[in-house]
């Protein structure tokens, strides 16, 4: 796309119009988007086209100064602030709220010349693994419209998989980029904690949240990471670590890309191949590991013994931090607001929050408040932070032992039907068992499509040491190269065939039907 824009064979306006047309054709059946800013997108595209004309006139150097995302349409998970556009974080409590400022990454994307098309659906406040916990209705998986796209960034994953936009931004607190990328058959990268500024991004769990890219391929993901990464003084946790310019120089040639595998040491953590894992997923991930080994990588078994404690640790730390972060929704300064008749502010808070938040958010606020309450802090939150030390030490040990990256499944299963895990929060939480430990340790990890099981996409997860995004993306590019002729790469999401049909039910209608047939 970048090359076509530079050559002038396509304009940014044409790309934006194609994206808007694709959204209006199929998003009734997918519901990936919560807000589409057609006017803003076309104006940004026209500005990008003017800059392209000027750059072309300036010759080679002018064009070289443009970011690869210049003129490219993209979407943002609906918790990234864009001045004047809605920003609900998937919650009714933020309905009608329009941020008076841009997030840091929004500014960065504008500077890069990217075209922001709109805002994408998500589980409420990013709490969920299926996007069914959105306050505005679920999103469908383009591979099977009766199934979830994963979550919490289900909207961004579905929009990219459906071809609405080539790239999108999500956030990953416990797997919310990698898991939906896996379930929708695309690339998703969670960067190292501190790599991308969170200024202007609605907070969930502040010691875990990170912002990252979704893309159809590894090079696009690298370009989007490059555009948003780096130190921002308005987020004190964003780290003063240089962003490698080589992110924009990943090899296009399969031969060159595959050659980088020689001598790389990859670890297969045995605890990630757990009972309860779907056999088709295990087969695809083991086949991918074998292909990496055949291409020259040294693949060895490793152990991360505290993996099994990740789930309980995460579901103490994340709700505890969320209960504090979500205390700000008081109905006074913005968003949903209710007033009782008694003129008592405690009653007003309870009405506003009781009605404004959805079931999963209330569940987590309750869990977190309890875990932090007097008498329980040591037993829960402090204990979880100590176990967190052990989980991080497992990873540190593996990398200190010479492992360049760990190879694991992203999700123990493929996309599941709407409603299948809604009645049992613990079953929903368990679907993140392979992604949560990475967040607990603050590490970067990428999910790559690695085949199909029962016709649905499977994700391969590569986990690296802190600040190793470039290495992970190079490995990802190498894996793409050695599997470039695999039959599954030519498969397209079958749900798209009927998504444009106006008689196709919406995801909310499908979910209601499936809820009706379940006992």
């Amino acid at each position: 796309m970048a090359a076509l824009l530079r050559a002038g064979s396509v304009s940014s306006r044409e790309l934006a119009e194609v994206a808007l047309a694709a959204i209006s054709a199929t998003d009734r059946a997918l519901h990936a988007w919560l807000a589409v800013d057609a006017d803003g997108a076309l104006a940004a595209a026209d500005a990008a086209d003017r800059a392209l004309v000027a750059a072309r006139a300036a010759g080679h150097e002018g064009l070289a100064g443009l970011h690869p995302l210049h003129g490219v349409p993209l979407g943002l998970k609906d918790l990234v602030s864009v001045r004047g556009l809605p920003c609900t974080a998937g919650s009714r409590i933020l309905e009608g709220y329009r941020p008076p400022f841009d997030a840091h990454i929004t500014e960065r994307l504008r500077t890069a010349g990217a075209v922001i098309v709109g805002k994408l659906n998500m589980d409420e406040f990013a709490m969920g693994s299926s996007t069914e916990h959105s306050g505005f209705g679920p999103t469908a998986n383009p591979w099977d419209l009766d199934r979830v796209p994963g979550g919490s960034s289900g909207g961004p994953a579905a929009a990219v998989a459906a071809g609405h936009v080539p790239v999108a931004i999500g956030t990953d607190t416990g797997g919310s980029i990698r898991q939906p990328a896996a379930l929708c058959g695309i690339v998703g990268l969670r960067p190292t904690y501190g790599r991308v500024s969170r200024y202007g991004i609605v907070a969930f769990a502040s010691s875990l949240d990170q912002v990252g890219p979704f893309a159809r391929d590894v090079r696009d993901a690298a370009a989007l990471l490059h555009a948003v990464a780096g130190r921002d003084e308005r987020d004190a946790t964003s780290a003063p670590v240089p962003v490698p310019p080589e992110l924009l120089d990943l090899p296009g040639s399969d031969e060159v890309a595959a050659a980088t595998l020689r001598g790389v040491r990859l670890g297969l953590p045995r605890e990630y191949f757990v009972t309860g894992m779907e056999p088709g997923v295990e087969a695809a991930v083991r086949a991918a590991a074998a292909e990496l080994a055949a291409a020259g990588a040294d693949v060895v078994d490793v152990s991360l013994p505290h993996t099994e404690y990740g789930l309980a640790t995460y579901y103490i730390v994340a709700p505890a931090e969320a209960s504090a972060n979500l205390a700000r929704y008081d109905g006074v300064r913005y968003g949903h607001s209710e007033r009782g008749s008694g003129g008592d502010y405690i009653t007003d808070y309870k009405l506003t929050r009781g009605h404004g938040f959805g079931a999963e958010v209330k569940r987590r606020i309750m869990l977190g408040t309890y875990a932090l309450s007097a008498g329980y802090y040591d037993a829960y939150y402090l204990k979880a932070q100590k176990v967190r030390t052990l989980i991080k030490a497992d990873f540190d040990r593996a990398f200190a032992g010479g492992i360049d990256a760990l190879v694991a499944p992203t999700s123990p299963g493929v996309a599941w039907p709407f409603g299948a895990k809604m009645a049992d929060p613990v079953a929903m939480y368990a679907s993140d068992a392979c992604t949560l430990p990475v967040n607990m340790a603050g590490l970067p990890a990428i999910s790559l499509p690695c085949g199909l099981a029962e016709g649905l996409p499977v994700g391969l997860q590569l986990i690296g040491p802190a600040w190793s995004e470039l290495g992970l993306l190079r490995l990802g590019r190498a894996y793409e190269a050695i599997t470039s002729s695999a039959a599954w790469r030519t498969a397209t999401p079958p749900g798209l065939a009927s998504a444009a049909d106006p008689t196709t039910p919406t995801p909310a209608e499908r979910a209601a039907v499936l809820a009706g047939v379940r006992p």
Binding site: V332, R333, M366, S373, K386
Partner: protein, 97 residues
């Protein structure tokens, strides 16, 4: 760890300033106890000598220069207010009288 009673659930809901219906309180009591049972797994680990991890990257306080910058105007800052009076947010009285 002790199971949560109905009164405990109501107390936590009050602390969290969540107005919950009878149905929600009953459902949350069951669900929270089920989730707390999963937490018991952590008791298997002896963490007596393990320091807690609150953040994962080795950064210490980074301060920025304290330079005045133009703020967003009060009109924009107030634009999302559910109820306002001029440049003030309207809230119930919190002091007696």
């Amino acid at each position: 760890m002790a199971a949560l009673s109905r009164a405990d659930v109501e107390h936590v809901a009050h602390l969290a300033r969540l107005g919950l219906t009878e149905d929600e309180l009953a459902r949350l009591q069951t669900e929270l106890n089920h989730i707390l049972d999963q937490y018991a797994k952590l008791a298997e680990l002896d963490t007596g000598s393990i320091p807690p991890t609150a953040q994962t990257i080795e950064l210490e306080n980074i301060l920025r220069d304290d330079v005045p910058r133009p703020p967003i105007g009060s009109a924009e800052a107030m634009a999302n207010a559910p109820e306002r009076e001029d440049d003030l947010f309207v809230v119930p009285a919190i002091l007696g009288g």
